[in-house]
Symmetry: C3
Subunit: 288 residues, 3 copies
C-alpha cells in the first residue's frame, strides 16, 4: 500500500455554476491547510457513472503515485450503495460511491485492495443530519484525511473482497472475419472525437496513410460508413475531413480535422454504438 502524497484530485457531475465543489475544498482544507487540491472535471454528464469511470481511466495514469482521487457521481446519494476506497496498482486511491465509477480502473489498471468507508468515524462531524451531499460529508472528508495522512488506508473501514466491486460490463474488441469489431466507449464532449475500445496493439501492423473502411452501427442501423485515412494526427487529412487515429491513451479514435466528428455525423457512445474497421488491401477487404 502506497503512502499518500498530499495531493487530492476531485471529479464530479456537480458543475461549477455554484458552490458545491468549493464546499468539498473547504472540508478538505479544514482537515489540512497544506493539501494540494486539483480537479479533473466537474462536468461529467449528470449521473453518468460510466463516463466518470472512463474519466478516471483516462486521467489517473499520468499522475504520480500517492495521489488520492475523489470521484462523486452519485445518483444514489442517501440510499444504500456502498462508499468505498480502492487502492490501485498505479499507487493511487479512489474514494467514491461503489456504483460503477471503478469499472475501468478495475479492468485496465487493477485494484489491489478495497475498503468500505466506515461513516461512524469517516464522516464530517455534525453532518449526520444531512443526506444529500456525501461528496462533501463522506468522500471529500475521507479523501482529505487519507491524502493528508490523518488516517492510513486501513483506517478507512473494513476490507472488502476486490471481486465485489460494482463494475459495468466492459466489452472487448474482437477480430472477426477480417474486421476488428468494437464499440465506441466515449465521445469527447468538447472537440467531438469518438474513442473506441480497440487497442492500438490490434492495429500495429497498419501503416499511417493506409485507407481503412470504418462502419458505425447503432442498434443494427448503419450510421456511418466511409473509407478513412489512418493518420498520425488530424493534420493528415484536409480541414473538415475525417481521420482514424491513435488517441492519447492507446485506442483507435475517429475525428474530423478542425471539426466535430460527433456533430457532423450524429454519432454518440455506449453499448449500442458498435464500430468495425477493416484494412483495405489490393482492392479487397482484409484485416490481418
Amino acid at each position: 500500500v502506497e503512502p499518500t502524497n498530499g495531493i487530492l484530485v476531485f471529479q464530479s457531475d456537480f458543475g461549477l455554476l455554484e458552490g458545491s465543489v468549493a464546499q468539498m475544498y473547504g472540508v478538505a482544507l479544514k482537515i489540512d491547510l497544506n493539501l494540494k487540491i486539483l480537479d479533473i472535471t466537474h462536468n461529467i454528464e449528470a449521473f453518468n457513472t460510466w463516463d466518470a469511470s472512463y474519466s478516471l481511466f483516462q486521467t489517473c495514469p499520468v499522475f504520480p503515485s500517492g495521489c488520492v482521487f475523489v470521484s462523486v457521481v452519485d445518483p444514489g446519494v442517501g440510499t444504500d450503495r456502498r462508499s468505498v476506497v480502492a487502492s490501485t496498482k498505479a499507487g493511487h486511491y479512489v474514494v467514491t460511491p461503489d456504483n460503477g465509477t471503478l469499472t475501468h480502473v478495475c479492468k485496465h489498471i487493477g485494484i489491489v485492495a478495497l475498503r468500505e468507508i466506515d461513516e461512524s468515524v469517516n464522516r464530517l462531524p455534525g453532518s449526520e443530519k444531512f443526506h444529500v451531499f456525501h461528496g462533501r460529508d463522506v468522500y471529500a472528508y475521507t479523501g482529505a484525511r487519507l491524502a493528508s495522512g490523518a488516517i492510513g488506508f486501513e483506517e478507512v473501514g473494513s476490507e472488502l473482497d476486490i471481486g465485489s466491486v460494482y463494475c459495468h460490463p466492459v466489452p472487448g474488441a474482437k477480430i472477426n472475419d477480417g474486421r476488428i469489431e468494437g464499440m465506441i466507449d466515449i465521445k469527447d464532449p468538447h472537440f467531438g472525437m469518438v474513442w473506441t475500445n480497440i487497442p492500438i496493439s490490434m492495429f500495429e501492423s497498419v501503416d499511417f496513410g493506409s485507407k481503412i473502411e470504418v462502419e458505425i452501427r447503432y442498434k443494427g442501423e448503419i450510421k456511418y460508413r466511409s473509407e478513412v485515412i489512418y493518420g498520425k494526427s488530424f493534420g493528415a487529412v484536409e480541414v473538415g475531413g475525417d481521420v482514424l487515429y491513435n488517441n492519447e491513451i492507446g485506442f483507435l479514435a475517429l475525428g474530423t480535422n478542425r471539426g466535430s466528428f460527433v456533430d457532423k455525423h450524429n454519432i454518440s457512445s455506449g453499448y449500442d454504438w458498435l464500430i468495425s474497421v477493416t484494412r483495405i488491401k489490393d482492392g479487397g477487404s482484409l484485416y490481418v
Copy 2:
C-alpha cells in the same frame, strides 16, 4: 480578530471564458508566491449580488478559519459604492464591494468588524488609471495582502459601523394557520433544485416518508401545488418524481429525482417566489 492562513478564495460573475480571473490570481501571486488560491465559482449570474451573497453563506462555513474570501460581483464598478472587508464570526474575511454581497453572511453567520478599503494604500500600484477592474486592482490586491499577512485587518482602512453594511432584505419563514410560509431563496443552476428559507428546525417533528402539501406562488399565482414525499434524499421517490428534503445547509428544498425541478415546473427564485408547506394529517391539513 483571527490571523489569516494564506488561503485566498475567489468568487465572481466573470466567467472562465477569458483571463479576468487569472489576472486576479497574478496580482495575488505577485504579493506572495506561497498563497494558496481556490475558487468558489466564477459563474454567479451577472450582476446578481443576492446570489453572490447566498453563495458565500452556502460555502464559507465549511472552510477553516483564517481564510480570506474575495467576492467580486460589482455592477457599480467605478462608481461610489464602498469597498469593504468584513471580519466574520466564523473567523473568515470577506473582501467585496459593499453592494449586498454580505447580506447572508451578516444575517446567518455574523459580522464582527467592518473596514473600508483605503485605496490610497490598498490598491495595485500603477492601477490608478484603470476604473473598470477593481476585482483585480483593489479586491484581489487587498485580499492577497491580508491573506499573506502583508497587512493586518486594521491596515485595510478605517473602521465602519457594522450596522452600515449594505444588506438586501432577508425575509424569514413563518408558521401561519397551520402552514409554514417562506420564499425560494435560490435555485441550483446545475441540477435544478430549489432551496427555501425554511430552516429544518421548523420541520424537526416531521418524519421522513410523510406526505406534505407544497404550494409555490409567483406574484399571487399558483405555479406548483402537489403532495410531495418528505424524503431523506432523492432516492426516496421514483426517478422523475418530486421530493421535499433537507438541503446540505439546513433548509427545506425541493428536487426531482434525476431531473430538474426548476425545468420541470418552471420555477425560479427571489422575493416573488413564495412557498408554503403543510403536513397532511389524518386526511386534513395541519402543520403543528
Copy 3:
C-alpha cells in the same frame, strides 16, 4: 534569463468538460509534487491562435516574474510546426507551439530569447507513440521541468532567431483626418465588451464625460455609428446605454452598462472589424 519560481500557468482551447487538462496537471506533478498550478482559461475559441495570443498579453503582465506559461491552442498538432519556449522581457516563459500564440507578447511585451523544444529529451517518456496530445507530452512536460528547475532555459533545446517567431500581423491604430482609426482586437465572450487596438495614450487629452462619435465597419459596411459618452466606467451611462471607456490593460473599449455590446449590436472582432473614434467639438468633428 530569469530563474523560474515553481508556478506553472496553463491556457488552452481544450475546455473543462473532460480530462485533457487534468492530464497536463498530472504530468506536471509527476515532475515535481510541489509545483503550483493555475489556469488562465481553457475556453479559448477552438484553434484560435490570435485569441490565445491576446489572452497571454492580457494576463501575463500582472504575474510575478519567473512564472512559466504553457499555452496549447494547437490546430497543427502532430504536423511540423515548431514547439518553442520564449523568454520574455517581463521575466516569464511561454511554452507553446509556434503558430501565432506569441504574437502579442512579441509585439507588446518583448521576447528576449527563443528556443526550440528538443523532443528527444523534453518529451514525456513513453509518449513517442502518441501524436495528438503534445499539450501533455511536450508542452506540459517541458513547462513543468522548466518551472521546477529540473532543466534551465538553455536545456530546452537549440536557440532560435527571435525574429523567426511566427506572428500574426498586428495593425496599429492611426490618427487620420481628425479621427483615430483602429480595429477591434477582441471581444469579451462573457460580458460582451469589445476591445480596440487604440491605446489610451492616444486619448489622453480627452476628458471623461466627452461625447465621442464612434463608427464600426465590417468589410466596408457600417455596423454601428453613434455618439457615445467617454466614461470612467459602465456606471457613467444609464443601464442599457453604451459607453466608451479605458479597458483594464490600456486600450479603448466599448461596452453596454449591465448588457452586452456584442449581442446588442452584432459586433465581432478581427482584422475586418474596423473602428474610428472622433471627438465632437463645438458642433464639429475634430480629434486633435
